[in-house]
Symmetry: C2
Subunit: 185 residues, 2 copies
DNA sequence: AAGACATATATCAGATTGATATAGGGACAT
DNA sequence: ATGTCCCTATATCAATCTGATATATGTCTT
């Protein structure tokens, strides 16, 4: 999925800055997709040139300038067309998460070359880390500032997607706890 | 994880060509990591220069030349050191699969902008596709040629990792079947 | 006999990351 | 008080990676 499409999809839920778009991709909807500023900012510039979004510069008293982007009607049409056209190809990529680079799974696969005490430590850390991620995804408390993230999180689509991720993560934790002995006993 | 490390890890299980390394990353151990030829071939050249691997060119009668790479003792030491040094950072990246780019999850998240019939079709296709991936991972039949892939697949580490992926995929299928109505009814 | 597919290596434009730079504010410790 | 660290906020860039394409030949199917 193009960076431009992701940005438009997030802006569909309300105006946002590049910084906020990045934070949406790291908050409770985390574990799905990530983008660096190095691709978000150029994408927003391109979208502005093509009139799919408009910008308003907010010169803030004591903070750096904010550039708040808003999706245009043209942008909404373009977004909906693109999503429909490309939907087929997003289905066949990855099992539950595309473009897979699971360094952790590779580490497990290569763990024969690691001392057993280290394997134990690694699994302990991993289970803790994954549990934290689960908490992030299932967090239902207030989110403050960006209505954008709230809208995405509380929509039926957001609930479904978060539920899917949460179930998958729980399964992973249970599996690791039950079967870890096979790797280090 | 560096491409060089991945290559060394696969070569630890026996000599292989670049083509075979690519196929290992696409076979029954699929869904964990992937690399393009554009990064595998340069990595193998670099490893050769640094004497972590040796090459033997097999001029084949009627096929293009094969370059069979074998890991050296220096390569094994380097691999084990790297794995140990970097293991900590591989733990904290992604929930079950790092560097996440789940185009499918993004599509679900944005599916409010899609006609309901399309959402139904997408979920049908997705469930079918994911089921195929599950079959690939759980496949226990013969693999022919490359002992390399066999060795990885049948090791305790391979069994653990494949089991983890399989459980996670089954959970995803069940979840989608049970909850899909929330997206299109 | 044409077309699809598998083996096998290689290159490259375009896209992405991760680090770094810049800049001010607030929180907390020493 | 002064240092350190984190948050908001935009931006750039070298190094890396992908996806497409090129080249070459064999086999299997229709």
């Amino acid at each position: 999925m193009q960076t431009e499409t992701i940005c438009l999809g997030i802006l569909r839920n309300g105006p946002a800055t590049g910084y906020v778009i990045k934070s949406v991709l790291e908050g409770p909807l985390n574990q799905i997709y990530n983008l660096s500023f190095g691709s978000i900012y150029p994408a927003l510039s391109k979208l502005t040139k093509e009139k799919y979004v408009t910008v308003k510069q907010h010169a803030q008293d004591k903070k750096p300038d904010k550039k708040v982007y808003t999706i245009t009607k043209k942008g909404i049409s373009y977004f909906e067309e693109t999503l429909l056209e490309e939907s087929g190809k997003y289905v066949r990529s990855g099992n539950y998460g595309d473009q897979i680079k699971s360094e952790f799974a590779m580490l497990l696969l290569f763990s024969k070359s690691l001392p057993k005490e280290n394997i134990k430590l690694i699994l302990d850390e991993r289970i803790l880390y994954v549990q934290q991620q689960l908490n992030l995804i299932t967090y239902e408390g207030p989110l403050a500032k960006d209505s954008n993230l709230n809208a995405i999180r509380n929509s039926a689509q957001g609930q479904f997607t978060r539920g899917l991720m949460a179930e998958v993560i729980k399964t992973a934790i249970n599996y690791m706890e039950k079967n870890r002995k096979k790797l280090h006993d």
